[in-house]
Symmetry: C2
Subunit: 458 residues, 2 copies
């Protein structure tokens, strides 16, 4: 038999993360004065050891032993040869999926939650705050905090808080404290509630609440944690691609196509960044970030300086963006409903090193169900987007008669998203459509901000 599961032993786990900032140039984040921000200005929000990591240009960064130990609960993660999916698609392509659904909360998010909790802990921090939309990030941080004895406070968008009680229960199991946002606990929350007592909440408001709760805590021992977009988050996620590279080498393979879904960009970056240098050095690899057509920041959003949140608390970041006040249609892949894209991913796309793709919600679920029936694991709605692109590439390989190697990130399982599948089967799931004029609005908004330089890394 050919085992489907290509496994590394624990001692083969990567001991260093790959830092793409060693190999690309980025426009710096800008403060309210239009000048590049200083490490000191971020100190009330993040611990200094993480701020240093955020700005580091060292190519390889050691993974602390205590972080490796916690990651080893579910890592090294399996690489699955998707022979059943290949057969179902009648493709000559060989498809490999890096399975990130095995972490305790079920997605790739703990790959960064764990080191973030660790670095805060060693810096003397006692409590972390964050926001969460659908709940993946909030539950990952609650898990990570439980491992290092930190308190965890999560502001969860009210509508999800009410609709998804299980994510809330999950955080509670790990000792995390989750409140619906807008809450009465912060100035930002109270203001939002005063304007509309039935406010369903938004990621923008929740970020404002979480940041405020961190910086306004008089103890000085509370900080804020972010689950995507930032450079150190991308860095921590590269363990995905570094492992996958080793596993492919074990079976004598190297990818021709790399596919990952992209919301803020961390899952996609985690899988693909360790292959970027190969591509820069001339290796032919198609690297495809995949987003929903309903929230096409990378495929259709302009590149420019924009805020990371609706309330404009964050610095201006040079990125592809649909505008910081963009409200995406209500698709089920909650992790892909972000208006912007990580500056690192945006820059690589701008330089032509990536080939961004967008898929429809119905195509995503169709691919997800085909995967579950041929490969077993039920993918998260976010992962379904990547699988829809795998279907396209596999069909192209069949038409061209080419034996391509396709590597995809299976970013998380869908066991807490079965209600969405039920809706799909009942025929009540529609393809969400981007509002007319959304792209033009984003262009207008970005014009009001400073213009980033047209950098070339190569």
């Amino acid at each position: 038999m050919t085992p489907k599961n290509i496994l590394l032993r624990s001692e083969e786990m990567p001991r260093q993360w790959y830092n793409v900032l060693a190999d690309i140039k980025l426009n710096p984040p800008l403060g309210p004065d239009g000048q590049p921000i200083t490490p000191e200005s971020l100190a009330p929000v993040f611990p200094m050891n993480l701020i240093e990591q955020e700005m580091s240009t060292q190519r390889w960064i050691d993974i602390p032993e205590q972080v490796l130990e916690v990651l080893s609960i579910w890592r090294p993660a399996p690489l699955i040869r998707a022979s059943g999916f290949e057969q179902a698609l009648k493709t000559p392509a060989r498809i490999y999926a890096k399975f990130e659904g095995g972490s305790p909360p079920g997605s790739h998010k703990p790959n960064t939650a764990v080191p973030q909790a660790y670095y805060n802990k060693v810096f003397g921090i006692k409590k972390l705050t964050t926001e969460t939309g659908a709940g993946q990030w909030g539950s990952a941080l609650a898990f990570a905090c439980s491992q290092f004895g930190l308190e965890c406070k999560v502001f969860m968008v009210r509508i999800s808080f009410d609709q998804k009680p299980y994510r809330k229960a999950m955080m509670q199991v790990w000792g995390g404290h989750c409140v619906g946002s807008p809450s009465t606990e912060t100035e930002a929350g109270r203001k939002a509630l005063a304007a509309d007592p039935d406010n369903p909440g938004s990621l923008g408001i929740a970020i404002s609440e979480a940041v405020e709760a961190a910086v306004s805590d008089g103890s000085g021992q509370t900080r804020y944690a972010l689950g995507s977009v930032l450079n150190h988050v991308m860095l921590h996620q590269t363990i995905i691609g570094l492992e996958a590279k080793k596993q492919l080498a074990m079976v004598g393979e190297f990818p021709d196509v790399i596919i990952g879904c992209a919301g803020g960009g961390s899952n996609f970056a985690g899988l693909s960044f360790p292959f970027i240098l190969d591509k820069m050095h001339g290796r032919k690899i198609a690297i495809l970030p995949v987003e929903p057509q309903a929230c096409p920041s990378l495929t259709r959003g302009p590149f420019g300086y924009d805020h990371g949140d609706a309330a404009r608390y964050t610095p201006l970041l040079a990125m592809h963006s649909l505008g910081h006040n963009f409200i995406p249609p209500a698709i089920h892949a909650g992790g892909l409903r972000y208006h912007g894209m990580a500056p690192t991913v945006s820059q690589l796309a701008r330089e032509g090193l990536l080939e961004p793709q967008a898929v429809s919600q119905l195509d995503a679920y169709r691919a997800g169900v085909l995967w579950a029936r041929s490969e077993g694991n039920i993918p998260a709605p976010e992962t379904c987007n990547a699988l829809a692109q795998v279907v396209r590439e596999a069909e192209k390989a069949r038409e061209e008669g080419k034996q391509k190697v396709i590597l995809v990130s299976f970013s998380g399982h869908g066991l807490l998203d079965l209600a969405a599948y039920e809706k799909y089967f009942s025929g009540h799931l529609a393809d969400a459509i981007l509002e007319e004029g959304a792209i033009e609005k984003a262009r207008e908004m970005l014009k009001g901000h400073p213009a980033p330089l047209d950098l070339k890394s190569l």
Copy 2:
């Protein structure tokens, strides 16, 4: 760092199952005439290749290549060194957990669902029927059927069908067809509905419906599948213990205590049977099946001949039983709410090779939450029962100052049981109490059946 996760490579997966029937004597199942049943009498219910396996006394049985390939989606499964749990309990014991939560449906059940689907497939069967209570077994069989292109029909106890829509959605994702039981599709179901149109259903009725749907299908290409109790189910599960034994050997360990929760017995048997010969040959191992105090078949139920189902469709099995019409209190560990115990497990207990234990529901959740906070993975309610016993043994080791090695089966994750955790945290979860006189009633009932022989395997 000491990695928590002890991993085997795919090529180190066991290639044979261990058959405990080579080493113990069993009282045979009896038909309605009081005589041992013949293979032929089971032929309408199960395919002949599985019936032969059910009756085989060969010690090692080859695992078919195609079964290994599907199992390799998530196997070999990790063995986790529970260093965080040890620290939380301040115990000198070294605790290892065999993690079965990584299968696509999230429990150990697919270890037998996959070979059962395979053997039916090669026998020419096109469709399998089964019952399910909480949904673990039904979803495991739906997954397995999807891997071999079989139809799958699941009769799910009506009250769970209504309360747990996610398990139903899960089966649908895998192409399984799940109906609430009692249904109008069978004579047994219609009869139950005629007596009570609001019948909430029971495992007994659901079994009757599933068996009837299989044997009454005119095509002759439909069979029934059972997820526990039977010998071939125990056989298939031994891959758990065989892997664990190899993994412990890799770190130079051998268990002093083996713990598994036991409902019908398959999870417990899977972990412990591969160590039974060691114990028979004089090795000192405490082997502890753990059940809820609310359903204490092994700790308090008498040993005798009893039916496997309420409707008395099944042969009489020699086992510990609370009586085939016993209705256990509504505890959340649905997989442990079975009136009987596998004949193999019962026989071993009777011969003093096992030391059965019972724990309370609240102790189980307390242990489960402690595990989640110190080790990450959220245990299923069934698994929590085993963990409560681990706590006891770890505390005993601390009191005695002994460096014991404890091996426990982490039979499944609790991501579809978060509502139960929520109830636990809200203080609305009570300790379920066994009805007064239940044990006496069971004794009376078993007296009406033939008496098994007092066999000695050693």
